[in-house]
């Protein structure tokens, strides 16, 4: 079977079935990064950051030669021109600040001061636009300069172009190879946003001791904005939004339960009611916090594990309740032999894969520098040991059931504009309001996409 449409339906159905804990024909290969394609075709991280044409060419070649793989990782985070447009000072990019063969890196820094919590809580969007953006983007540092307005304009165009170029890669992968993306859009847990982008971790360590209530209120105030991001990622709800988590690995269960989990849980519950299943990327070691995931409805999230997580414990506690993705480590790809890879995949299929609800992947993706023969060995091993029932035939599933709709957030509702116009309009108010609110929603989503 080589028809891309048929392949797409089969792979998407397999991917969706595993996420929904339904029977699959075999363990899916739920790959989520562009790195293996780069290694295979010899392009570097600077190419991934600046040359979407090369990324597409590279992905088409790699995934055509590894047809066992069921999903691919769109390189959305790698698109550096987007950050150049605003002169972002927090990311270091290959080909700009870093050698061309190095992954981009983020420099954490307190971009919100300890005495600015009240201002942030009072109007987070205003704070984001007026205080945070100028601190993080040098092109917006001086409001009096024409550079400020020009940079804002560039930022809008840059985002539109990024979406078009990354979207074109995804569309081509679907159309030419029948390969679905591993995720559609993304969001973060509120505590991570507060810690990563606003206060930095050193700041938040003090804040949870000295101003715990403000930390909780700040997390709470961000929930709808993060939901808004997640819902906006893939309107078809076929591909789960990606939620990379950064700080649980450092936190004690007591800290996690008090500061991290409440806002994350509330967000995930609303998203599930909206028919959105989130792919949680569990960086570092989440093992001390696993049991909290049982507080969410069955199958409402997918747990993608980094290599420090105890996957056996995850299977023991979450098996049959939430789908698990991962199992392979960086050394499995970079250092070990093909025989060891074969044995590891065999073990994973026999243990973690038992009963389904499992996809094989590296630790939050296959790392750069992976040996191609080990990637091949991984695919071959899944074809040897990963089968449950060859009679199962996959077709795309309907998205998760929706119990409510999510109204996109807007900053200034049409009613305010109507007042500005004198309280009434002469023509069709509904159509005027429709456009007003749509642009407001787009503008607000744009603003929050930078956080």
């Amino acid at each position: 079977m080589t028809d891309p449409k048929a392949l797409f339906d089969e792979r998407l159905g397999r991917f969706q079935s595993a996420m929904a804990l339904l029977p699959t024909d075999r363990v899916p290969l739920g790959i989520s990064t562009a790195a293996p394609a780069m290694t295979y075709t010899g392009i570097n991280y600077a190419d991934v950051s600046y040359r979407p044409d090369k990324v597409l060419e590279s992905c088409l070649k790699f995934y055509a030669d590894f047809p066992e793989i069921d999903t691919f990782g769109p390189p959305a985070n790698y698109y550096a021109p987007y950050y150049d447009a605003v002169q972002n000072n927090s990311y270091k990019y290959p080909g700009r600040d870093l050698p061309v063969d190095i992954h981009f890196q983020y420099h954490e820094r307190a971009n919100m001061k300890e005495d600015e919590y009240e201002a942030f809580i009072a109007d987070p969007t205003a704070f984001l636009l007026e205080v945070w953006m100028p601190r993080v983007h040098d092109g917006l540092a001086d409001r009096q300069s024409p550079r400020y307005s020009l940079t804002l304009l560039k930022a809008v165009y840059a985002q539109a172009r990024m979406r078009a170029e990354v979207g074109a890669i995804t569309a081509a992968m679907i159309e030419k190879l029948g390969l679905p993306p591993a995720f559609g859009g993304g969001c973060h847990a509120a505590f991570d946003e507060l810690s990563d982008k606003l206060r930095d971790f050193k700041g938040i360590l003090r804040d949870i001791r000295k101003r715990p209530e403000l930390v909780k209120r700040a997390c709470g105030i961000m929930i709808p904005f993060e939901i808004n991001k997640a819902v906006g990622g893939d309107p078809t709800r076929r591909f789960p939004p990606y939620m990379t988590t950064h700080k649980p690995m450092f936190m004690s269960p007591k800290e996690f339960d008090e500061f991290y989990w409440p806002s994350m849980k509330e967000m995930l519950l609303v998203l599930w009611d909206c028919g959105v299943r989130v792919r949680i990327v569990m960086e570092g070691n989440w093992t001390p916090h696993i049991h909290r995931l049982l507080e969410l409805p069955k199958g409402s999230v997918v747990c993608e594990l980094d290599m420090q997580n105890d996957i056996v414990k995850f299977k023991e506690i979450l098996g049959g309740y939430h789908c698990i993705i991962g199992g392979l480590t960086d050394p499995d790809f970079i250092l070990t032999s093909t025989t060891e890879m074969d044995e590891k995949v065999h073990w994973l299929c026999e243990t973690i894969g038992r009963g389904g609800g499992f996809m094989i992947n590296g630790p939050c993706g296959i790392p750069g520098g992976a040996k191609i023969e080990n990637i091949r060995a991984m695919c071959e091993a899944v074809m040897k040991y990963g089968w449950y029932d060859k009679n199962v035939k996959h077709i795309p599933l309907p998205p998760p059931e929706k119990k409510r709709d999510w109204e996109p957030l807007i900053y200034t509702p049409f009613e305010e504009y109507k007042k500005h116009l004198g309280g009434s309009v002469t023509g069709d108010e509904e159509v005027i309001a429709k456009y007003w609110n749509a642009f407001e929603a787009q503008a607000l989503a744009w603003a929050w996409s930078w956080l």
């Binding site: 870093l98 420099h107 360590l205 936190m251 004690s252 980094d306 250092l335 630790p363 520098g369």
Partner: protein, 208 residues
Amino acid sequence: MNELALAMKELDEDKIMELVKSGLDQGDSPLDIVAALNQGVVGVGELYESGEYFVSQLMFAAEILTEVMEILEPAMVRSGRTESAGTVVIGTVAGDVHDIGKNIVGTLLKGSGFNVVDLGVDVPADKFVEAVAEHQPKVLGMSALLSFTYPEMKAVVEALAAKGLRGQVKVVIGGAPVTDEVKVYAGADYWAPTAMDTVSFANRAYGK
């Protein structure tokens, strides 16, 4: 354990700062203050090992120590007395600019009385070698967050051997993607799964 050591163990930042400042004002020896802080850090390590404290508490302990040492170091220089448990050279390897893990290790080592030569992030192999030649540490620590750095760790170990320095220094590696397999691959002596493990390793290397 005196009041300061206990405050350190309990990570009571305000109390620690108050006790350190009042101690210095009353003429206490900065070295005695450091000794009390060290005792508290050992207590933090014990709580970490027992599972009561997590990485965030280690990080906060490191933060507090950094802040306290800013006050103490000038006083120590003035007093002209310095004692060290030994020297440890640390750095994040070339290509990687992450420093959280390295900084925790560095501060906890300082808190345990070591003289720490921190080479920073994105450190090329020759810088590590130069620092080992210059400072003659018994322990060299390399940190990484990104897995593409495995060959870089190996390169540092090989560069030490090429300069005839390998026999005099124990190499410890740590960071999220590091495992025992990486230790073997890189030719390091020890893989530290946690920051406290590096401190214990350094203590052993210096016969404590």
